[in-house]
Amino acid sequence: MNKFLKVLSIMVLFTMIFTACAPKTKAEVVEEPTVAEEADTNAATTEKPLAGQEITFLTIQPHTVASQNLAQWFEEETGCKVTVDVVPYDNVVEKAVLDVTSGVGYYDVIDFWYPGLGTLVENGVLKNLDEWYAQNEAELELDDLIVTFKDVFTTIDGHKYAFPFDGDMHLLYYNTEIFEKYGQTFPTTWDEYYDTCKAITEAGAADGVYGCAIMGAKSPLILIGTYLNRLGSYGGAFFDADGNPTINSPEAVAALEALVAQAEYALPTASAVAFDEALGGWFTGKAAMVEFWTDLPGMTDDPESSSIVGKWGVGPLPMGSGEKAKVVASVNAGFGIGVSAVAPHPNAAMEFLKFVARPDIAARYNTVVGGIDPVRYSTLEDPAYIEFAGEDIVNAIKTAHANAITWPTSAKWFELQEPLTDNLSLALIGEKTPQQALDDTQATWLQILGK
């Protein structure tokens, strides 16, 4: 008995110590020389302003090439070395939060998935940029930022924490050769999409050709994105104007039912298809349609990765049915860029942020292969960009922005994503009916929000 009491008292003691201290350790900020006095340098020294300095840039795997380009250009201009750290897109918010809360504070600049903005801010990961925005307003040409992204990617509770970086949106692509072979035309509603898909699959499955590739893998970015393409177009939404969840509204259920029906004729099996599998099917001409981002044309016309060069077309996402139906373009994926609140090299980090945010740099990185989509109106008018991406795409993007819907960015959203992803997945494989799945989601959401 004695021993037991000893152990128990030690545990209680420790608990109290931990609770009392609850340290939020800040990583040591390394003082390094400020960049001042370089703007009007005399030509005497050709030394670069940030020579000898280093920063670390946390970015996602699909942005590897683009990030390396940026790193290279930044070093050329300022002499500051940028170490690029790449993680899967699913993990970047998690990684950033861990970095800060564990006290390590390794990263300076963070390329993050925008729905995680609220989470990042709540956990104190991102530095407040209000002042920076105010100071650099002119240079950054804030009015040039596409309105879809301008606030959503940057602002929480009226304060600025990031700058838009990659403006992803989904469009509907189709394989012109397959369409011709099976006598199909571009669908403008999800019902037509379903019919097209079904027709092609029934005729072509024996040859391994399917009407569409649907990305239904159990990851929020993938599965909720695919669902949102339908949800919005049926007139549904995650929340109403007052912030109450409406995930089991009749429109939401109809959208999920459509998705589940379509998945039956999609590239097998939708619930296991993510980026790579969808692209695999698309590039090899096995999938006639795919909802994908605006960088797809570049990759499709690259003979090294694709065997369907030039055999594609693009259009907006189909519309739902019902009285609330409308054309939408969901901002699926999409990334902002911010500076860590505990960045070890804050000054150099801020310079890098400004670098990436500059219109001239944006023009550069949008026009090389790297998968970064425009966040500025000027990019869409830039002849270089139009030539690079193709006129069709640029027009499609412009149209899309008129109908864009974005994901929530509140602090609770990351928690809400999980039950939604789970239930969508269960509905997709037939373990729950769409109504059931969304009712359950609604119930869980109310519980989470009610807390």
Partner: protein
């Protein structure tokens, strides 16, 4: 007559071991238990002291219950199959002299491969379009169309189990082999002279003598399987739906996707208790068997 130094130097020698034990076992355990009694998130650990609320939530949590069932199902099925297969293989080769080191190394390769690499390999094998599995199944005429193993609600779990069996049967094999080699040779010669058939010898002699060790092998592997994570993370991410979501994976999601570390700590501690209970039961079972055969 030991002087002071001789008396205390053994204790000093033991200090590194103590340090290791404290830092890697005791402190984390205390931390987890403390954390589980509080409302903690990744950013703000030890926010408030909420006593046993996390545990109450855990008991009511359907997802957790489901994940535990998945874990038990997985663990018992794969462990049983691996122990059985490992034992049969060991029994089959027990008589071969000089089971060369090379052959043994090859047999053990799956165990030496890093778990993440194993998971990646199987992910590629199971790929519906370009994977080996579909390729050979169709080539040998066993199936007609492409099968998405990891996306199919009925095949996902068995697929993960199959990969685990591939990875860990060598472990059971090598341990059972050692156990069989350690059996005394003389009684078996006596049995030969006494005229017993192979089956009689196995049933009445080999099996009862080697069973205590085989149970230990079963227990070791069971403890390993109850903590399975890599395969699930890489192959299915708990999907489709929640079908392959095992307990450790669910805890990972709670901690790193929902950032609720206090709750995750409570779940972890509950898992610890459950695993301890299971292990104790197996050990008691073995003792019972050993006593009964005396």
């Amino acid at each position: 007559m030991k002087n002071k130094l001789e008396q205390i130097s053994p204790r000093i020698m033991a200090i590194p071991a103590w340090v290791f034990l404290i830092f890697f076992s005791i402190v984390p355990l205390i931390y987890v238990v403390s954390s589980s009694l509080t409302n903690s998130t990744l950013a703000q650990p030890f926010k408030d002291f909420i006593w046993f609320n996390n545990y109450k939530q855990a008991i009511l949590d359907e997802n957790f219950g489901r994940s535990l069932l998945n874990t038990f199902l997985f663990a018992f099925v794969v462990t049983s199959l691996e122990t059985l297969l490992g034992f049969l293989l060991a029994y089959a080769v027990r008589g071969i002299r000089g089971l060369s080191t090379l052959l043994r190394s090859i047999a053990l390769l799956p165990m030496f491969t890093p778990p993440v690499a194993v998971s990646m390999i199987w992910k590629l094998i199971y790929d519906p379009n370009s994977g080996l599995m579909n390729h050979y199944l169709m080539q040998w005429g066993i199936t007609k169309g492409l099968i998405a193993f990891l996306g199919d609600s009925k095949l996902a779990f068995p697929s993960i189990m199959f990969a685990d069996i591939w990875q860990w049967t060598p472990f059971c094999f090598i341990l059972c082999y050692a156990a069989l080699q350690a059996l005394p040779k003389a009684p078996f010669e006596a049995a030969e002279v006494d005229g017993a058939s192979g089956w009689t010898v196995f049933k009445r002699l080999t099996l009862p003598l080697v069973l205590p060790q085989v149970i230990v092998v079963f227990l070791f592997k069971l403890l390993i399987s109850l903590k399975v994570f890599d395969l699930v993370y890489m192959l299915t991410f708990g999907g489709p739906g929640n079908i392959t979501q095992v307990a450790s994976f669910y805890i990972y999601r709670v901690a790193f996707k929902q950032f609720n570390t206090g709750y995750a700590a409570a779940l972890s501690f509950l898992m610890l208790l459950i695993i301890t209970i299971i292990a104790t039961l197996v050990i008691k079972g073995r003792e019972f068997f050993m006593r009964r055969s005396e």
